[in-house]
């Protein structure tokens, strides 16, 4: 995998990375890849899995509420009410 490619993958969304990983897994499972290509795909797949995992780990949930104040919209954290 080239650095450029790696860099490009770093920019992928979780969804794109997962989709790409899925594509790679399917391609590999199809058994149609040549060994060399399979290794290369495997390498990329491992990289993508790592990315996906990192993204999942990093995930933090943010809940924001849109509030219109004085005609402008602002975001303010949502406070769930007890009810």
């Amino acid at each position: 995998m080239t650095d450029t490619k790696a860099a490009a993958e770093q920019e992928l969304s979780f969804e794109q990375a997962l989709a790409r990983l899925e594509t790679i897994v399917k391609a590999m499972e199809s058994g149609d890849l040549a060994l060399e290509q399979a290794i290369s795909e495997f390498q990329e797949g491992m990289q993508l899995a790592r990315i996906c995992r990192e993204k999942l780990d990093q995930a933090e949930q943010k809940i924001e509420m849109l509030v219109s104040e004085a005609g402008a919209l602002t975001k303010k954290p949502f406070q769930a009410e007890e009810s």
Binding site: A38, G45, A49
Partner: protein
């Protein structure tokens, strides 16, 4: 002018013409009628026969089983209803009838009618067409929620998303969900979310309620706002039995807010598991491929071609040995055969040797010679015997025998002429006297004639 107008109709033709008139009228083909049910009969075949009436009028009506099986209520005698259907003629009786395909109890009558009419209109505009349904993103980063900031719905949505998919952000747009301001509030929020463009998916809805409480989500402004939204919208209005127009137009309909949240985000637990599965499959796939490759290679490496590389050569060697043996045997055999032939002929040749033949010939020759000699001897003997016999006879007959008694014979002229008479000779002639034992040579000294002869 006796034209067609003065033509006399048959009852059937007349009835058919009337029926045609009903069916040509758009307002009669698709109409709503309010009235009270009377003379209700639910036929065993499932068809419903009844009369719709009001204070002034009544109309015979029928709702066939195919339509009435979806009714959410059971029609009863005296019940006020709003019915939808078309008007046509029952030709056998020559009576017009209202053919009902849907009906609602009239309590909600006007609202429901408004709902139905708006639904029909929007449907005709094509707002509900599947081609407008946008796919819901599988892994949204921001989920827009348009609902009341208080109440169970928002809590259910947030709880569900947090539990399932903490990766996503939630952007809540609080709205009024019932009352006269509800519809514009919801519509505005949808537009705002679109302007903001932050959300990947919108959940629009509220908890369950009566038709009136849910009414905002049947209003045209909301339906059009959902339809216009560039962001996929999941509707989550009320409970399962209630279907609002928002539900029809939304890209996805969820029966409850919780369900909407579940539809909006993936399950992270499952996602992680999915990721681990993908990882495992990736490893397995490659390991499998390598293993298969190993097997394939090993199979080839362990083929007799490599494990017994000289096998073929040995076989060939055997073939050559065998051919050489056969070659030698063939020649030995050929030579042996010829030797036998030769020996047989030699034996026969020796057997036909002319030695015996020569011996036989020798014997034959000897025998011939013996016979020849014997024949010659016999001939001589025979001839000698014949000769001896004749000679003996001649001897006996010899006239000279008389001479033994003293007679003799005289011959003259050198023994050529016998002297029989005196005058056969003259004096001085030489005569020869034949005696028994020989000859006398004499001369005639004297001649004496015999006197007493004759």
């Amino acid at each position: 002018m006796l034209t067609e107008q003065s033509k006399t109709w048959s009852v059937s033709d007349l009835t058919a013409r009337i029926k045609q008139l009903f069916e040509e009228d758009d307002r009669l083909v698709d109409c709503w009628v309010r009235g009270e049910i009377s003379n209700f009969t639910h036929h065993s075949k499932g068809h419903m026969y009844f009369t719709l009436k009001d204070a002034q009028s009544r109309v015979k009506s029928v709702m066939f089983a195919g339509n009435n099986r979806y009714l959410k209520f059971i029609p009863k005698e005296g019940m006020k209803i709003v019915a939808h259907g078309y008007v046509s003629v029952f030709e056998r009786d020559g009576a017009y009838q209202f053919y009902v395909d849907d009906m609602q109890p009239d309590g909600l009558g006007s609202l429901f009618l408004a709902f139905q009419q708006l639904k029909d209109k929007l449907e005709q505009e094509g707002l509900f067409h599947p081609q407008y349904k946008k796919p819901i993103p599988k892994y949204p980063r921001v989920i827009g929620v348009i609902t009341s900031p208080t109440g169970a719905a928002v809590r259910d949505i947030i709880t569900t998303i947090r539990r399932r998919y903490p990766v996503a952000d939630i952007l809540l747009h609080p709205v009024i969900v019932q009352g006269p301001n509800a519809a514009p509030s919801v519509a505005e929020a949808i537009e705002t979310m679109n302007e903001l463009g932050a959300a990947d998916v919108l959940i629009v809805g509220r908890g369950g309620g009566s038709l009136e409480e849910l009414w905002a989500f049947n209003e045209e402004v909301v339906v059009r706002a959902i339809h216009a939204s560039m962001i996929p919208v999941i509707s989550a209005v009320g409970h399962e039995t209630d279907t609002t127009l928002a539900d029809y137009v939304a890209d996805m309909r969820a029966p409850t807010p919780t369900a909407a949240a579940e539809l909006a985000v993936p399950n992270l637990f499952e996602l992680r598991r999915h990721l681990e599965q993908l990882h495992a499959r990736l490893v397995n796939a490659l390991q499998g491929q390598v293993r298969d490759a190993q097997k394939a290679l090993t199979r080839l490496e362990t083929s007799p071609v490599f494990t017994r590389p000289t096998h073929q050569v040995r076989q060939w060697q055997q073939t050559v040995d065998n051919l050489e043996d056969r070659l030698l045997l063939a020649l030995t055999k050929a030579a042996g055969q010829r030797e036998r032939q030769l020996a047989a002929l030699e034996t026969r040749l020796i057997r036909t040797s002319p030695v015996e033949r020569a011996k036989r010939m020798d014997q034959t020759l000897q025998y011939m010679v013996e016979r020849l000699e014997k024949a010659a001897q016999d001939q001589l003997q025979r001839d000698n015997n014949r000769y001896e016999r004749l000679l003996d006879k001649l001897d006996v007959l010899s006239p000279l025998a008389v001479m033994r008694r003293g007679y003799s014979l005289a011959y003259a002229d050198g023994k050529k002429r016998m002297v029989k008479r005196l005058n056969d000779v003259q004096l001085g002639d030489m005569v020869n006297i034949r005696l028994e034992d020989g000859w006398l040579d004499c001369a005639v000294w004297g001649i004496e004639e015999d006197k007493h002869n004759d």
